[in-house]
Symmetry: C2
């Protein structure tokens, strides 16, 4: 097996694609800009879905399914929304052998069509809040596609809620931001900054956008999830009205929030190394690979394989799922078999060789550190469980330390420019500028404001010099 992964410090983009290819996570589709999510990549997404879906339901939301095709005219009902999304839409113009009267957009996000349905369903304050979510595919036509990060089609969940009061809707936005932070940090082991977006970075049509921003291992930022307070913009555009407790007609306050297959790209870039993928144990489809090993293929297959299967069954039982895999590629050399699991990011490798069996031990190898240990047979199960928890914690703290080490403060615009140019990473600075200021910063430095940090830390704006500017993180971003 070829060790065919370009080193990170040689060519980061190529490293990223090589990791995906070696782990068989995704492939290019025949239609430019689209991707195929292969079984290993999809199993990671299914695990992310399972964790997030449980949180979405725990917080009182229900799933539903809204249509793929949206009349083009719907997008024009909210002025900022159409400006933001029209350039990326894919349009169905013919169907059933005929030209359609009105072109239909393939959904890029569903505020419009869901707003249309909410207007039909919601009558009274008793119908509120409406708390729905959908898991689906969306299309945003990409000129420069990149697997998982920017593809013309991607998978996501989009939550859409309608409330009686502004306060409830703002609380909902923050509740879901916290759900995203929790899933990203606790399950994906990705440390994030959860905070508010500046005016130039808001979702088209939102009054307030909050975001979870993560640092990749090339020090660039990636927006991993967003949660929007939409005010009454969409309820006015689509007529989502209700009779309030005073018997008067009022417009709902709405929110939307989403997390996509982009997070699989973040997962890859935060944790993986020059040997390939590393998957945090809580998200890994296979948590432990078990390898019967012998120079004599028949000993491996006849004598050792039954012991490997027994261990696999016990571990699966203990871990509560089909989380182990017994490797039976006896036709391959042991080194190539080891490397196959390395590249695929399996957290723990358990080797059962003839010597191990004679000694009553199993050799355990950690994917994150490469550390090896010989574990006595009767300690294998508790040791694997402990090591998996250690790996999860280690991946998180490693990523967090990396982010903290690569976060700098700038007290002036000159200093911000220098740091971005010389060191990269996150730069904290007080910022209270306009959208135009954001554009100027982006054009001059390549960096954008990623989020305003929570809390009341204010100071003198590095652009305008005005007091009361909020502490904001800038970075180059994916």
């Amino acid at each position: 097996m070829a060790r065919n992964i370009t080193p990170r410090n040689e060519n980061y983009s190529q490293w990223y694609l090589d990791v995906i290819k070696a782990a068989e996570l995704a492939d290019y589709a025949p239609v430019r800009g689209c991707m195929v999510i292969r079984p290993t990549g999809y199993a990671i997404w299914e695990n992310i879905q399972a964790k997030l879906d449980a949180e979405i339901k725990r917080t009182g939301h229900v799933n539903a399914y809204f249509p793929l095709l949206i009349p083009e005219s719907f997008f024009r009902k909210e002025a900022e929304h159409v400006e933001g999304f029209a350039p990326e839409l894919a349009m169905v113009t013919h169907a059933g052998g005929e030209e359609l009267e009105e072109p239909l957009a393939v959904r890029s996000t569903s505020e419009t069509v869901i707003g249309h349905m909410y207007a039909k369903w919601i009558q009274s304050w008793r119908d509120l809040p409406v708390l729905m979510n959908q898991w689906c595919n969306v299309m945003r036509w990409e000129k420069r596609p990149r697997l998982f990060l920017r593809t013309s089609e991607f998978l996501w969940q989009e939550g859409h809620t309608a409330h009686e009061t502004e306060q409830e809707a703002r609380e909902e936005m923050l509740r879901m931001l916290e759900v995203y932070r929790k899933v990203l940090e606790e399950e994906l082991a990705i440390p994030v900054l959860a905070g508010e977006k500046t005016a130039g970075e808001r979702f088209p049509g939102a009054v307030d956008t909050h975001t979870c921003e993560a640092m990749m291992s090339d020090k660039r930022a990636l927006q991993a999830a967003t949660s929007h307070f939409l005010g009454q913009n969409f309820s006015r555009a689509f007529g989502i009205q209700f009779q309030n407790r005073e018997g008067e007609l009022a417009y709902c306050w709405t929110t939307s929030w989403g997390l996509s297959t982009r997070t699989v790209g973040a997962l890859i870039m935060v944790h993986s190394d020059d040997d390939g993928l590393i998957i945090p144990p809580r998200i890994a489809p296979i948590k432990a690979a078990i390898l019967p090993i012998s120079k004599d293929e028949s000993i491996a297959a006849n004598d050792i394989l039954p012991k490997a299967k027994e261990l696999s069954a016990k571990l699966d039982d203990e871990l509560g799922g089909m989380f182990t895999k017994v490797d039976t590629d006896f036709h391959m050399r042991p080194g190539d078999r080891f490397f196959a699991h390395l590249q695929k990011g399996v957290p723990v490798r358990l080797e059962l060789g003839e010597k191990d069996i004679a000694a009553g031990t199993v050799r355990l190898v950690r994917r994150d550190t490469g550390a090896k240990m010989d574990v006595k047979n009767d300690e294998v199960i508790p040791t694997v469980k402990k090591v998996l928890a250690d790996i999860q914690a280690n991946l998180f703290s490693r990523a967090k330390n990396f982010r903290d080490e690569n976060t700098h403060d700038a007290s002036s615009y000159e200093e911000l420019k220098e740091i971005i140019a010389d060191k990269g990473g996150f730069v904290r600075a007080y910022f209270g500028g306009t959208k135009d200021d954001e554009t100027r910063i982006r054009e001059e430095t390549g960096a954008t404001p990623r989020c305003i940090l929570p809390g009341n830390d204010t100071g003198k704006c590095i652009i305008t010099g005005n007091d009361g500017a909020r502490l904001t993180v800038f970075a180059k971003a994916y």
Copy 2:
């Protein structure tokens, strides 16, 4: 609350739509032919997904995701396939503000694009079998849409497998047919006939199609799932070749199989009655509704509600999920509250009134039979579990008896015509005719061959008079 469901024997189509509306299962989308699956309908689909996905994985398959858009030219590579699907395709012709060089079809089924990818991934017999499944949306443009049964967009799973030998592929087709039978009968309580399709009813491009056919409560048939042996048709069209054990290049043998949101329509039509939806307990999102009841709203809310919540928590714990719902619509009249749960098909209703509490009992009402019983407090949990199992079994046997009572034998074409015209239902007859004969039968009777029954029962064909014709079920179908 209005009892707004049209009786079945008055207008079956309207009854069906009324049941869906009253239970809030689905609604029409703004784009003609498309639907919105509302939370209750989607929760039923999620439960079907969970049961079927577990079986798909248990039988060794993995999930993946292939792209929504497929180059139009791909459909033309398999002659029968394009003939079958081209008239129903929705076409994306513009994207990202530009006209595309080649129109892209929104997938109606994914044999073509998956075949294209398999040709890239499969090299050797060691790579086989490839056993993949995807859960996704597909579009087939419908001129006469009907919620769940025929919509321009629907949700489904489509399995696609590639094998070394014809025998393995044929076994795979039958394995998945059996998985469908099991899920439909054991989980959805829908009795099915699992058998082979005649030539005129095969999937476009298949060598052999098998089907699960169910009888709805208006005696018409509905195809609930299909499993196809595709021979080498798609592997030749897309070049899915592998080096076999003898070192020669060979074409794979492939299968595909699918089950869609159409089964939600079948579920509605098999079990429901003039009061509305009935959901089999194993698929029901809410298995028991718990209603604190008092003429005095404050007694219901303050004294009885805590007891209801306690019972709900215990039952959820026992049933292993959030399967109960406490009804707090104290502003509604008890009769309207009862009816709301009836219409939504909740299998069991538990009423806690002041008299019940004084007597140390709970009133239990079954949705399927309407039977009422007063259950002692300490027997509520085992009784509910038993009643849920009884309801599941009763719904299945009720549907099976109905099907059997409405299945007739015809020894001649004249007899078949008479039975279809006078009684409807399923008609068994020996049939060995051609596609043209099938067309003639359909035109003259409205019925089609639904499936050839398994087994070796043969006789004289009612059309050609030739011996050796197989026993085939005919019916009018959805």
